[in-house]
Symmetry: C2
Subunit: 163 residues, 2 copies
């Protein structure tokens, strides 16, 4: 069974190459971008400007195939793909929480962006701390690595693999 999704817009960012991108919004602090929502979906943006942060779901459109284990940018050991945020996943969907600065004519002006230029947008959801924030959290192999995330950049490890 296949589930079909349709891009609802395009994300524009300064990152035109897969290399040297921030690997999470934390590393993209202050980086600005825009989301161009296609005209037929713009009416759905009503009320969104009341939210300071939004969740973007998008298609990792350069990702092909997947392997169950990947060496994440933040580590030197292979980890299970579902224990990482790596793009080469069975269903290559990316998730980033970004700051929403304003909306003008169906264009969202966003900040703290770690997304490749021209990425197809799949969904926008309001970020709600009461739903999305949790305390008393353990983060496994990332415990040691995550302090350095804002300094790390991507490289080409997920680029050329096509299976």
């Amino acid at each position: 069974m296949k589930i079909g999704f349709q891009p609802i817009g395009l994300i524009h960012t300064p990152f035109t190459e897969l290399e040297n991108m921030p690997i999470q919004p934390a590393g993209g602090a202050g980086v600005k971008g825009t989301v161009d929502v296609f005209e037929e979906y713009r009416a759905g943006l009503k009320d969104l400007d009341g939210f300071s942060h939004i969740i973007l779901l998008y298609h990792f459109h350069h990702s092909r195939g997947f392997r169950p284990h990947v060496v994440p940018f933040m580590d030197s050991q292979p980890r299970g793909v579902f224990a990482t945020r790596a793009p080469r996943r069975p269903n290559p969907i990316g998730l980033s929480v970004v700051r929403l600065n304003r909306i003008e004519d169906g264009v969202l002006h966003i900040e703290n962006v770690d997304i490749l230029d021209h990425t197809p947008l799949i969904d926008i959801k309001p970020y709600v701390p009461e739903f999305d924030t949790h305390s008393d959290v353990r983060t496994g192999w990332l415990e040691l690595a995550k302090e350095t995330v804002s300094q790390r950049k991507s490289d080409d490890r997920f680029k050329q693999d096509r299976e």
Copy 2:
């Protein structure tokens, strides 16, 4: 352009009807469920048990079509669909952060569940506060409504609509 995704597992919960479900994990506090990851994807679960919370992306498989404005469960006024977490979206993908209690034989035992039984799983990502948690947040129309979310239940408003 259509993007094709494949279910990678099934989510099992006590909620067999769309009515009277909690409408967010906050309302599903203590409710337990399981995620049965299909065999070909199980190797990807390595290292996931180090994480106390995980992000589930899933298919709102009962949702058909969408309208740009919806009256959310937590409100009495129509809101832009992207300013809500309602299931009838252009691409009907749900997102919940749940607690991961343990993994046994490819089955994830989860808690704080607000998901319908038999929901197709699309992706699992580790929940990492450094990536996913934000402060100084405004939440628009939800400011007033969200305090009551743990008491609210779903009804059938998203059930019968087929366009």
